[in-house]
Amino acid sequence: MAGTGKKLNRREFITTGAKLGGLSAASLGMGLWLKNRSAKPQETVVATMKDRLIIPPDPNLPEMVIAKGRDPWALVAKAVAELGGISRFISPGDIVVIKPNMAWDRTPEQAANTNPDAVAAVVTLCKKAGAAEIIVTDVSCHEPRRCFQRSGIAEAANAAGAKIIYPEKHRFKELAIGGKVLNDWPVFEPFLYADKVINMPVVKHHNLTGVTLGMKNWFGVLGGKRNQLHQKINESITDLAALMRPTLTILDAYRILQRNGPTGGNLGDVRLNNTIVASTDPVALDAYAANTYFGLNPMQVKFVSMAHERKLGTMYFDEVRSKSVEV
């Protein structure tokens, strides 16, 4: 070899030639392969949402139950019982995700979040129905650990046997929503793999939409730049309502935040109303609540009329089979 003074023999010549030739061919092959792969980077949409079973209507049962009384737990139990009982909605082995509004760093009395006892009651019912996993979560606006604890919901739901999942960044997956204004958005994982979804909004004032109720509560399944949704808020709400199609909506009207919503903070803005409304029709429920608690004509609540037009339910809440009960 070079430097040793020894002459190259034939064997060495061939092996060296083979090595160098192989290396060159491999480089060429690798280079062509990589060049071939070259494409403008695209964001990949990887997530899919599990098809959820919509419970068929039963003409013998009410579609909406308005339960009044002092104990949120009992109100929830009664309302669900009147709708046909929890086993109508939850089957043994189901993965159930319960979505309260716990978006704000507020206490239960301030009524910016869903009533913790009401959430715990739903968890208990689902447990009785044999759900395999009951998840309680929300993609909060304020810092999630503070919201979950100070709202009292994490403690109540956890004690009732639910799994609490924090909205950590890695738990979001890009989903092609395919809505009118929303397409690729990061969606919080539990909502993707749930068999049944129970929406548990709270009645609150909101300056842009007049009122925030059940369908608006779905903002809390999204990550990403949610602050852009306000620019087409009614379309965004209906897109999400079309995506989510909850098994059941249980509206907390126990305390109502009448002014300075959706954050509140002032006990003077809160009215004790002692009511829980449960319905299988999310549009009728929002229409009823907007009308009853904020005196709004459902036709003028844009997201309600849009959802009606898109056949996600009916805004003529007085035409649905409803029942009022006292507990």
Binding site: K169, H206, N207, H230, N260, T263
Partner: protein, 549 residues
């Protein structure tokens, strides 16, 4: 007790205190509890104790404020034993000392054999730390707490909070992401398992970013790398806490005694010396430099050295050999620093618009008397809202905390920054005090204001672009809201009439929390921005004519 046992104990103590230090720092975060509905949020245990037992911080705080804040009295736990024993803190407890010890013990080309013995000899430049000590304490006397910039505990907490732990988190997160994104199920579940372990141990709830992190991190790395040239360079040459403890150890009754003058000149004691204090027989032992690591004793083959109480001290130099002229220079430097720094800062003349201090902060003069820039507040902030300043508070206030609403807003009910602040620069306030309410939630006083929000109508969607938005109003946490709206019919780009709600700020109600700025969709330069004016801590930074109660 055998001396070998003492050395082992010392090593165990260093590991114990370093792990404790890391544990406390990692837990400087509200974790949230699923079994608690407590609405008054506090940390489960005191996390800033390393800063509170630090004698240098306590002394500097006492000199600048003529008081001793909250738990700083516990620094006596270190001070009094130092009077008797010497710099045991440096060799046995100090987390930065232990890190330096570790990096100093790594093999290094420039410290092999004779070179190492030479590098471990006492050097005159080791007195630098005493002059630094004098200068920063003088500055403290004149009301500037720049001591915290060079205090080793403060430096370590700051470096770890702002640079080291975030870097570690990014690294670990990258590994987890790779596992999560893998197509292979086995790797995915390995990722989930690892995630569970890491999230419940060393990883923080979310990835945090800090301004100045690279700068602060590089300084820390430099301090570590210097150990490869000279063991414990920081401790020997620069550390003002080490200097202070060196002064305190002057009358210490524990010391090195050389039983005879016999020495086989093997130099092994010098080879393992941490402080650069010349334990070797024939040289003069420097008491103020010794870290009490006890490496020299068991290494002596002649068994001619012992550590003992009331030792013979003929061959000992008990105090640092400071030169009078240099002392005068450092006094002058310390005394002149402050007037110089303040001649160019805007402490009184023109407060900086972006200098939004954390809730409970004292007025700027008193704030600078206390803030040691340890970064505890930045570590504990749940929204990653607090960052080290660069020049917003002048050169004097470098790395003190500032709220950057674009990155994170001040959580309405959170007071954790005041809870962890060891010196009271951010005074400890209760949640109710911050919100100005009583225990029943009734408004009884003004809430703590950090500043005031202002609209830039040229960038605001309903003001400039005929689009509905008002996310700022949605997020505004005061009640009644500080952002109020006016319905307006506007013409959009297609010539069509559109109704928008245009937002306004009521400066009286605004608390400057920055939620609006954080939520604004014009992210890169929000259409609503909080400026420091109106902050409750500063009399000279107000807008409104208001009768003070």
């Amino acid at each position: 007790m055998k001396i070998q046992t003492v050395v082992k104990l010392r090593r165990a103590s260093q590991i114990f205190f370093f792990v404790l230090f890391l544990f406390l720092l990692i837990n400087t975060e509200f974790q949230g509890a699923l079994d608690s509905k407590e609405t008054e949020i506090n940390l489960p245990f005191p996390v800033s104790i390393f800063l509170e037992i630090d004698p240098f911080i306590a002394l500097a705080n006492a000199i600048s404020t003529h008081t001793l804040y909250r738990s700083l009295i516990f620094s006596l736990i270190i001070i009094i034993p130092t009077f008797f024993l010497g710099r045991f803190f440096c060799g046995w407890i100090c987390p930065l000392g232990s890190l330096n010890h570790f990096f100093g013990s790594l093999k290094s080309e420039s410290k092999l054999g004779k070179k190492r013995i030479e590098s471990n000899r006492y050097k005159k430049w080791q007195t630098t730390k005493y002059y630094i000590l004098i200068a920063v304490l003088l500055a403290a006397l004149f009301g500037s707490q720049i001591a915290g910039i060079v205090d080793p505990i403060s430096l370590t907490v700051r470096s770890f909070s702002v640079a080291v732990l975030p870097t570690l988190n990014f690294g670990l997160n990258a590994i987890l992401q790779t596992l999560h994104n893998s197509e292979i199920k086995l790797l995915q579940s390995a990722g989930n398992g690892l995630q569970f372990v890491l999230k419940n141990s060393i990883m923080s709830f979310k990835l945090v970013h800090f301004q100045q992190a690279v700068f602060i991190g590089l300084i820390f790395v430099t301090i570590m790398v210097l150990n490869l040239r000279i063991t414990r360079f920081w401790c020997r040459a620069l550390c003002p806490l080490g200097a202070l403890l060196g002064v305190f150890s002057r009358w210490a009754i524990l010391g090195l005694e050389k039983k005879s003058t016999k020495c086989s000149d093997c130099n092994i004691c010098q080879l393992h010396c941490q402080g650069g204090d010349d334990p070797k027989i024939g040289l003069k032992w420097r008491k103020s430099e010794c870290h009490l690591c006890f490496n020299c004793i068991p290494s002596c083959p002649d068994n001619e050295m012992i550590f003992t109480f009331f030792p013979q001290t003929q061959t000992t130099v008990v105090k640092p050999d400071l030169k009078r002229r240099k002392i005068m220079t450092s006094i002058a430097a310390g005394a002149l620093t402050l007037p110089l720094l303040r001649s160019s800062t805007s402490l009184n003349a023109a407060p900086n618009k972006n200098l939004i201090r954390p809730p409970g902060s004292l007025d700027e003069k008193h704030f600078l008397e206390r803030c040691i820039r340890c970064g505890e507040c930045m570590k504990v902030c749940p929204n990653n809202a607090l960052h080290p300043t660069f020049m917003e508070a002048g050169l004097e206030g470098i790395w003190s905390p500032i709220l950057v609403p674009q990155i994170g807003y001040c959580e309405p009910s959170c007071v954790l920054c005041g809870e962890v602040c060891p010196t009271g620069a951010i005074w400890e306030i209760s949640q109710n005090e911050k919100m100005g309410v009583d225990s029943a939630g009734k408004s009884v006083a003004d809430p703590v204001k950090l500043g005031t929000a202002f609209y830039d109508r040229g960038r605001c969607l309903p003001w400039a672009m005929a689009k509905p938005c008002i996310v700022c109003e949605e997020w505004c946490p005061t009640s009644p809201k500080a952002i109020y709206l006016q319905k307006e019919l506007v013409v959009d780009s297609n010539g069509k009439m559109a109704e928008v709600q245009r937002p306004f700020v009521d400066p009286e109600r605004c608390i400057g929390c920055g939620a609006c700025e954080h939520a604004c969709p014009i992210q890169v330069e929000p259409a609503i921005q909080v400026k420091s004016i109106g902050e409750s801590r500063a009399k000279n930074n107000q807008i409104l004519l208001k009768k003070k109660a």
